[in-house]
């Protein structure tokens, strides 16, 4: 990609300053940088393809031009208009649904995980060991195995094809409980909690005013992981929902893709350009979230793997 050579030359000056702090032999560093550059090309090539091809009209897409470079006319605006007007503007609705499911489901899962993780870490209640062992065991259960029975259960109470059918199952995040427990065990000292108790603070006041601020890095991580898991979910909403106005964007684009494939290159032509642009637009929110929240997740993702 075009950034690589510039970044490569830009680094050499910076490197010398870093070497002083941390002596590393310079020999072998240039090959390593080349390896990194090649890896970046590999990891970014699908993004590049989508950015380039979402600019093309159907004619440009099927016209036999280069697949990795722009066609003569750049049609982002036209494609964006098509994307947001196709099927009565259903795409914007899908994005909204994805955001709703991810935020409500993710927030709910995080609240439950924080409470439970803290409870397991800081109270010696009867049955604690057994309960925690069961939660740990649940981390190993593949969540997709629960989807079919959950669907049949929800069908009996008439919950299928509603937003709750997607949100409720997302609330369950045993791994989040595990992460919070590991983090709370070390980050919140028992002495501090006891001191607050001696001062006469109630247990929930201690939790919200003493423990919660100390748990912040782990909370952000669990929240981010649950939101991403929910935004990216496909199997659960695919099974639960039949009304396309309730689809999240993953299921919606999957639907367009199978429609376009069924009609083949001929009939589906106009659809392909909005599928490609729709894919690009749908990944922008999470990419922005990850870039802006870098300093939180980079540390937090490792909780539980450092021991």
């Amino acid at each position: 990609m075009s950034v690589t050579p510039m970044e490569l030359t830009g680094t050499s000056a910076k490197d010398t300053s870093d070497t002083r702090k941390r002596p590393i032999r310079t020999r072998g560093r240039i090959p390593l940088n080349i390896v990194l550059a090649l890896l970046m090309v590999y990891f970014l090539i699908p993004f590049w393809w989508v950015i380039v091809n979402s600019s093309k009209t159907s004619a440009g897409l099927f016209g036999g031009g280069s697949a990795l470079w722009f066609a003569d006319d750049i049609n982002y605006i036209g494609n964006l208009v098509d994307l947001f007007t196709y099927g009565g503007g259903i795409y914007a609705r899908w994005l909204g649904n994805s955001a709703l499911y991810a935020l409500v489901g993710g927030l709910g899962a995080t609240v439950l995980a924080v409470l439970a993780g803290y409870g397991f870490a800081k109270y010696r209640f009867a049955g604690r060991r057994a309960a925690f062992a069961i939660v740990l065991g649940a981390v190993m259960i593949p969540m997709t195995a629960l989807v079919i029975p959950t669907f049949v259960l929800f069908a009996q109470v008439g919950w299928t094809n509603t937003i709750w059918a997607v949100i409720f199952p997302t609330l369950l995040n045993p791994f989040g409980v595990y992460l919070m427990n590991v983090y709370a065990r070390d980050a919140v000292p028992d002495e501090l909690l006891d001191a607050a108790r001696v001062d006469g603070a109630g247990e929930f006041r201690i939790f919200s005013q003493v423990a919660l601020p100390m748990l912040r890095p782990a909370i952000v991580t669990v929240l981010l992981l649950s939101v991403v898991a929910s935004w990216n979910n496909y199997f659960l909403p695919l099974v639960m929902l039949s009304d396309n106005r309730l689809f999240p964007v993953t299921v919606g684009i999957g639907l367009w893709q199978s429609t376009a494939s069924t009609y083949g290159a001929a009939g589906g032509q106009s659809l392909w350009s909005i599928i490609i642009l729709g894919s690009l637009v749908s990944v922008i929110p999470l990419i922005i979230a990850f870039l802006t929240l870098q300093k939180y997740w980079q540390g937090g993702l490792t909780i539980g793997s450092l021991k």
């Binding site: 680094t11 890896l39 409870g119 010696r124 002495e191 496909y234 893709q257 990419i287 490792t302």
Partner: protein
Amino acid sequence: MTASSTATPVPTKRRRATAARQNLTGWLFVGPFGIVFLALLVLPIGFALYLSLFQKSLIGGTRFVFLGNYAKAFTDPSFLDGVWFVIRFSLVLIPLQMAVSLAIALILDIVVSRFARFSRLMIFMPYAIPTVIGALMWGFLYSDNFGPLAEIFESFGRQAPDFLSTGLIFYGLLNIVTWQWAGYYMIILYAALQGIDPTLYEAARIDGASQWQIVLRIKIPLVAPALLLILVFALIGTLQFFNEPKILQQLAAGSIPDDFTPNMYAYQQAFSLANYNYGSAISFALGAVVFICVYIFLFATRKRGSFFS
């Protein structure tokens, strides 16, 4: 807690009151999650088990068959081939993914520069992409109509490989999953490497160790717990493989049948054929197989301070 137990004679009445309060508050904190856990995990599992013990037929209605569905599943070539596929896939994918992510993490641990930091972020980026969209993007790259492969190979006068064909779909999927997750695993390993005390390297260097020896004797053994965690995640994820093959099914005409993986087969049974009993049996069997495999694996490799502590 520690204070009250080490303190000299506390009246028993007060101690009992403290214990009761600990009990109650503890359960109040864990309770909300516990309710969700019972309603959305324990209940569906129990229900799946219950459903899987019955068989529904057009004549005769629903009848109790006990383990009949399981006997059918474990002699059903569709289910067995699917299980065999995900096992084969895991055996190739997981070592590949771990090797790639470990290699990148080790490079990033050695090369300290702005470029390295930037590339770390870019390599992680695929994790932020829904697997559906990731599979779709690679599907485009593989396809004759849109992809660059034909163009690139023709300039060398070669026939482009078709990663959507029956023969190569295994590698097509392997590439997609590696691309999607290697960056995430790399971040976990990278942070574990950064957590190692640098004085260990100094000491090793004074003893005359080379960079390679430091990597092999210090770095890799010290990130072993992180590698184990990754392996478990990858195993759980791969055995329930569904999204990527489901999305590529349309693009790869004919090379991905409905019974390609156990999860796809369960989906087909339940939702295309309305056979919820058999679908539940497959789900339950798959869940049990995954749980037992992972449990045995963790038990065999357990160490003090790891996941089971």
